[in-house]
Symmetry: C2
Subunit: 372 residues, 2 copies
């Protein structure tokens, strides 16, 4: 069911374009996955998502495990049917969310005990449990249950955590029993190049149809993230997709594609939209600013999205200021369209072997991602 | 520009169907107008509104006067263009909202001094000011500035207030200077049949292309409202549209159409949607109820709206429980579709001279509007 095909490699670098075939359709890479935490990409209907050109979306195992529960989702025909999204879905393993509530968790070899952020009830996640939940949810791509290393962490701490991730990856592979779902491995190793390389080798040796780079974009400088990507990617097989988890800003995405990454996810475009921070072809727009009060122009004159085709900056500012629900939707439609269009332009640039050039021009035009 | 044409009268009663032509298109009556308080029908884009079959929407002068301001809306090309709604719009006069903050207002012959609910600033509305604001907003139908009588009120109080409404109606007519906008008069008179009749005669004598029944649905029993409608409608000209302001529940609407009313507006379908109270062909559904937790059926199997065509009750309950923004939109799409479909069925029943019969069957099927 799952197949990754590289259709072109940029002659001037590591970037490549390709297609990933799943049981729910095919999407092009490099791809960005909008995040649908609770079986909904916030403020968006599946109609909006399709209109924005989303090829695959992401669901959060932790949140769906807690509410409405994976058994209910399975009973309702799986996540695709439950949320009425017919395209490909990837679910994360739940690990990242659990570990982000570090004070509430207790890690053992077996797994992680934690308390629900909703009702305080005691819960447990393990490699086997994560596989069980993700199989019930029924996503096309599922992720191994790992222990993301906190940042900063010492070499010794990172190594210990990484070794646990490796053992858990093996348990995930053993317990994974659904042939219609592709299980991706996750490479950890913190901010240490030697550990990244070692873990990449261990995870690749275990053998998965795709590999993720985990534990990045956790507060480290852009340069350090780039270094870690360079320390990992050469040790991953050329013919398998590479997924940089939780990234990120448009600039991070372009740079990482130049380093050979194929897949991304991040709450940034959707969360920023709800905060009124909008990505445009000439840089970031904070829509609440008074300068847009009587601006009759579209948010981004170069954008073809529903929002830019139909509404003025003045109206978008009014909706945001007045706290109208429509503000969330229109802003999110725009930001996701921006990201989807960015990925399309990236793919076109790779096709023409000019992604380096595209990146330079993009920086000049937008001013780069100065505000981080 | 404005023209009302009655196309059929129910042989068995006062109900009639017709068409109202405006500079922004024609809509059928009896009509229900979704409320777009702040230049947005809450949670709905104009695409959603069109899909629900909305023929005309309502904007609130008070809210738009305060934010973003009528001058800005005019500068942006008027309310239609500002919110990208190409169909007919009606604006209220601002009176109802101002008077609903009674402690903050001071009424004189000249008008009403009040404080903004947003920033406490001192503001003033008068018949002339309301006309100025409504002309700036540019709606197709605008309303006279009146003093809605509180409920309950004595005969003497009601009479005094009614007389002010009459004088203000005349000032509105004098100051109204925009031929592309139809100015409707409003009949007050509280809960007294003699005053309703007197005020109807006074307002009709002043002369308007349409007449509203104001000061109803303010807490009085259903029967009393029906009595006041019967005390007013016979004194309104047959060939002008009759608009019952702020009404209401589906049952109120059907009953009032039977009494000869042509137009309605109410926040009920949109506000209830956001509270998770949904209107269906078999009665009210409170979507948060545990019984819907694992219900794979559409909200209303007889409904053809986007929500019912694509999602289960279990999913709608999940979205509502999880506080997802999409919940507001999907619920609102459904409730507005329900109302628009109700109006369509009412018009079809009148066409066949069987609205009485339709009402009886509707009550049996839905159980009537028991929860008020």
């Amino acid at each position: 069911m799952f197949r990754f095909t590289i259709t072109h490699k940029d002659k001037n670098g590591a970037a490549r374009i390709g297609e990933i075939q799943t049981g729910h359709g095919t999407f092009s890479t490099p791809a960005f996955m909008p995040v649908g935490t609770q079986a909904s990409v916030k403020a968006m209907g599946p109609d909006d998502l399709a209109r924005c050109g989303a090829g695959i979306i992401l669901g959060n195992t932790y949140h769906l495990f807690l509410r409405p529960g994976h058994d209910l989702v399975r009973q309702m025909g799986g996540l695709h049917r439950f949320m009425n999204w017919g395209g490909p879905i990837l679910t994360d393993s739940g690990g990242y969310q659990v570990f982000s509530m570090r004070e509430l968790t207790k890690v053992s070899e077996e797994g992680v005990a934690f308390r629900s952020h909703l009702d305080g009830s005691k819960l447990f996640l393990s490699p086997e449990k994560s596989m069980e939940i993700q199989e019930a949810l029924g996503a096309d791509i599922i992720m191994a249950f790992d222990e993301p290393t906190p940042y900063p962490a010492s070499h010794a701490e990172t190594e210990k955590s990484m070794q646990l991730t490796t053992r858990w990856a093996r348990r995930c592979k053993v317990s994974h029993g659904s042939p219609s779902q592709a299980l991706f491995g996750i490479v950890q190793g913190g901010m240490f190049a030697d550990l990244r390389k070692r873990n990449a080798n261990e995870i690749v040796e275990t053998g998965f149809p795709g590999y993720a780079l985990g534990g990045l974009s956790v507060g480290e400088p852009m340069e350090l993230m780039a270094e870690m990507i360079d320390a990992t990617v050469p040790h991953l097989p050329e013919d398998k997709p590479r997924y940089l988890m939780g990234v990120g800003f448009p600039e991070d995405i372009i740079r990482s594609v130049l380093q050979g990454v194929d897949m991304f996810d991040c709450v940034l475009p959707t969360r920023n939209a709800r905060n009124g921070t909008l990505f445009t072809s000439s840089g970031r727009v904070l829509i609440k600013n008074a300068v847009y009060k009587d601006d009759p122009n579209p948010l981004d004159p170069e954008c073809a999205c529903y929002t830019c085709s139909n509404f003025s900056r003045a109206y978008l500012r009014h909706l945001f200021t007045a706290g109208e629900i429509l503000s969330y939707r229109l802003n999110t439609i725009h930001n996701l369209h921006y990201y989807m269009n960015l990925m399309k332009e990236i793919r076109e640039a790779i096709q023409d072997d000019r992604l380096d050039d595209y990146y330079r021009k993009w920086r000049v035009k937008t001013g780069g991602d100065k505000i981080r």
